[in-house]
């Protein structure tokens, strides 16, 4: 008995990987591979789409449209994330429990606010958007709130974890000097977590730009809207132009936040661009963006705080909610066994899609990650650097950033041209977006390997494959599995979105029910979706515990 326990403990990571692999293989069986999975003309379409990459439409009109749409996308991202930071700060502080000295109050507050934050981020921003449009109408606020809530939830959770992890000694010192809880927050906690907060927020800002781009689905005209229109006209050349603009915007933010993070970590005040202090420049840029974005939203987009709190909105919100609950209706879907059965089948399909997606992403990552790790490509991790390593390194790094800069939904809209509707195109679209992220994280994990044990294995007589199995794999496996589990959670949340464009699962049914105004069905789908996300949270927590 003790022996088998020991065995499981000893090989927990290998066993877990094996289990995950089995589940992935099992999920492959859910697709009928005998069937032709690609449209009869899918290959030709794929060729057309791929050819168009090399001849994007750079005519004056399209460029003008691109600039405007890029600006709009950026404006909404800035507005959304700035609101998210405020939400995250308040909820994060409250849920970290640092404001309370009494143990019971602390526990209750932490519990309640953690749950709220969890709920906020468990629902995808596009679903929030749809709900807000139904309740508030097509105002800029619908989009901004739809961004602010899930991002507030994610940032808030991270802020709260950062605050809880703050080292105790300086805090105790402040406490004993008689500082109030609020003073401790501002003089003790905040200065210590400032750096991490900024760098994580910058990373989230990059994601918000992508989310803002797909807000077009509720009628916000950004880059996603243009991509959607061009796809509807099968004008692939235009599609790529807009995608290139989106990718450039993401790359710009990525570079900027990388530089800023490095400067902040090294506390280097002297870095400059064009003779301007980079820190000051960043601050100025952020300030300009904030002011001009909100100005744009209020002045040009005509957002109006007062009409937002109008009686009309109150009336429609109430109406919308009561329709979701199904007040006064006798055909309430969530009380109907038949509907439940249907929804559960779709839920399983959605789960299946997420497993396929993470499986494909992992395969893509494993194939590409080795040449992308800096310490392997420059030969510092034992192997000799070959001339082609550098080229391979740059190409794959570019593919990584390109694939992750394009949101899942847009990948799905493109993939659906080639594959027949169903969960496979959805899984492929999700995988296209996520393998870049997974690849980047995993490459960084390899770069972080401690070279000393590996060198020592070499002195003990290990050849390259032996070094891989004894030194490199045990070191990175835990990180890889952690990343894969984490990405899987994110993917599951997004499966509902790719369903909108015909990729099956709960998302497709959600779109249909929305089109037919079957509100109680929407409630049922949302319940299933939230249960699924909740289940995934618990499961991934368990898996993380196993490999600890």
């Amino acid at each position: 008995m003790n022996n088998s326990k020991k065995f499981i403990h000893l090989y927990s990571k290998s066993l877990l990987s094996l289990g995950l692999l089995l589940i992935f293989i099992l999920s492959l069986f859910s697709i009928n591979w005998e069937d032709k999975l690609i449209h009869s003309g899918g290959k030709a379409t794929l060729a057309q789409i791929s050819r168009a990459i090399f001849s994007p439409d750079f005519s004056g009109e399209i460029l003008h449209l691109s600039f405007i749409s890029t600006w709009r996308t950026l404006v909404y991202a800035v507005a959304g994330i700035s609101l998210a930071i405020i939400i995250a700060f308040i909820f994060g502080v409250l849920s970290s429990g640092i404001l309370f000295k009494n143990k019971t109050t602390k526990k209750i507050f932490m519990h309640i606010f953690r749950r709220i934050l969890g709920f906020m981020r468990s629902i995808h921003e596009l679903i929030w958007a749809w709900l807000f449009v139904a309740a508030l109408g097509l105002t800029p606020f619908s989009a901004i709130f739809a961004l602010a809530i899930p991002y507030g939830g994610t940032l808030g959770r991270i802020f709260s974890d950062m605050l809880k992890d703050v080292s105790n000694k300086p805090i105790e010192a402040l406490d004993s000097s008689g500082a109030s809880n609020f003073q401790i927050l501002f003089y003790g906690y905040l200065p210590m977590v400032k750096l991490d907060m900024i760098s994580y927020t910058m990373y989230r800002f990059e994601c918000a730009v992508r989310s803002s781009a797909i807000m077009s689905f509720i009628g916000l005209g950004g880059l996603g809207y243009q991509i959607q229109l061009s796809l509807a006209d099968l004008a692939y050349n235009e599609v790529w132009t807009f995608i290139f603009f989106l990718v450039s915007l993401v790359i710009f933010i990525d570079l900027w936040s990388n530089i800023l993070r490095n400067i902040l970590i090294k506390d280097n005040n002297k870095s400059s661009i064009f003779g301007l202090n980079f820190k000051k420049l960043s601050f100025l840029l952020i300030l300009t963006l904030l002011i001009s974005s909100w100005w744009f939203i209020f002045k040009i987009e005509g957002a109006d705080i007062f009409s937002f709190f109008s009686e009309k909105n109150y009336y429609y919100t109430k109406k919308f909610l009561s329709e979701l609950i199904g007040i006064g209706r006798d055909d309430i879907a969530y009380l109907n066994l038949f509907h439940w059965k249907n929804a559960l089948v779709l839920t399983l399909q959605t789960l299946n899609m997420s497993i396929l997606a993470i499986g494909f992403s992992t395969i893509g990552m494993l194939i590409t990650v080795i040449p992308v790790a800096r310490n392997i490509s420059d030969g510092s991790l034992g192997r000799t650097a070959k001339w082609y390593n550098r080229i391979l390194f740059s190409i794959i790094r570019f593919i990584y950033i390109f694939s992750r800069a394009v949101p899942e939904l847009i990948w799905a809209m493109i993939v659906i041209f080639v594959f027949k509707p169903g969960i496979l195109p959805g899984a492929i679209a999700l995988a296209l977006h996520n393998f870049g992220i997974l690849g980047k994280l995993s490459a960084e994990a390899i770069e972080g390997i401690d070279a000393r044990p590996i060198k020592n294995l070499s002195t003990s007589g290990a050849n390259s494959p032996e070094q891989l199995f004894y030194g490199i794999i045990p070191d990175i496996m835990k990180k890889f599995i952690t990343y894969i589990i984490y990405r899987w959670e994110v993917i599951l949340r997004t499966t509902i979105i790719v369903g909108f464009v015909g990729a099956g699962g709960l998302g497709h049914q959600f779109k249909l029910s929305m089109s037919y105004f079957h509100y109680t069905e929407i409630t049922l789908i949302l319940v299933c979706y939230i249960l699924l996300v909740w289940f995934a949270d618990i499961l991934s927590d368990k898996m993380r515990e196993i490999i600890k």
Partner: protein, 253 residues
């Protein structure tokens, strides 16, 4: 028993980016000698050990290991049977269980397939248990290495060395990050194991006290040159004072 020269170096120098780390060192080491390398940090101890372990090549000069030039050892598997190295506690793979870290010492004997199979079904398990017993850690066979204390990790590294069973054991500051009791513990274990099997042991040390207590020959380095090379019994306090005081003067130049 006839004395046998197991290591001999002839006029070796090493430069790192134009900076001299070692300059024109020559000496011989007999089989079974217990040698301590002393000198303050930057004096070239680690560079010298790394040259012996063939991790780096000297810029100049030749190194003969057991009658053969060091570069004539084509495969690191053959070389691993001649020379084994133990560094600070960082040379273990933290995520592997103790048994695999110990059995990594067998990699020089095993084929690649066998080594990978061993990760699933440990091979030569009795050997691992035997050597862990000798370092007093037989109960930690399946423990994850990262859960061990610094001293325990160092003893696991010793157990790996026992399994690898090289003729020459190099140790680079093996006790630098341990507290005094643990240091004493690990050092005496290292020396007694070397003595029992008539191995040649070359250890770099910070502490002159340990060097004098456990080793029979001490080589002192300063700025990449040999400051003295004497049997332990001939070392006087004034010599040692010279080594370290001169050092300070040099640094002030």
């Amino acid at each position: 028993m006839l004395k046998k020269e197991i290591i001999s170096i002839n006029n070796i120098s090493k430069e790192f980016k134009g900076k001299k780390a070692l300059s024109s060192l020559s000496f011989n080491i007999q089989k079974g000698e217990l040698i301590a390398l002393i000198g303050s940090s930057g004096s070239g101890k680690t560079t010298l050990l790394n040259i012996f372990s063939s991790s780096i090549d000297p810029t100049q000069g030749e190194v003969i290991i057991d009658g053969k030039g060091i570069n004539e050892y084509k495969s690191n598997k053959v070389f691993a049977k001649k020379v084994g190295m133990i560094r600070q506690q960082f040379d273990l793979v933290e995520e592997l269980p103790v048994i695999h870290n110990v059995l990594a010492g067998r990699l020089s004997q095993w084929s690649t397939t066998k080594s990978i199979l061993s990760l699933l079904i440990p091979q030569d398990k009795t050997l691992a248990i035997k050597s862990l017993k000798r370092v007093g850690l037989e109960d930690k066979l399946y423990e994850k290495t990262s859960n061990l204390s610094g001293g325990q990790k160092q003893r696991v590294a010793l157990a790996r060395l026992l399994v690898q069973n090289p003729e020459i054991v190099l140790a680079d500051e093996p006790v630098a990050s341990l507290d005094p009791t643990r240091s004493e513990d690990v050092l005496s274990l290292l020396v007694s194991l070397a003595k029992e099997e008539n191995k040649t042991l070359i250890t770099s040390l910070h502490s002159v006290k340990y060097a004098k207590k456990h080793f029979n020959r001490i080589i002192a380095l300063r700025n990449g040159k040999i400051f003295f090379d004497l049997p332990t019994k001939d070392i006087t306090e004034s010599r040692l004072e010279d080594l370290y005081s001169l050092q300070e003067l040099d640094n002030n130049e």
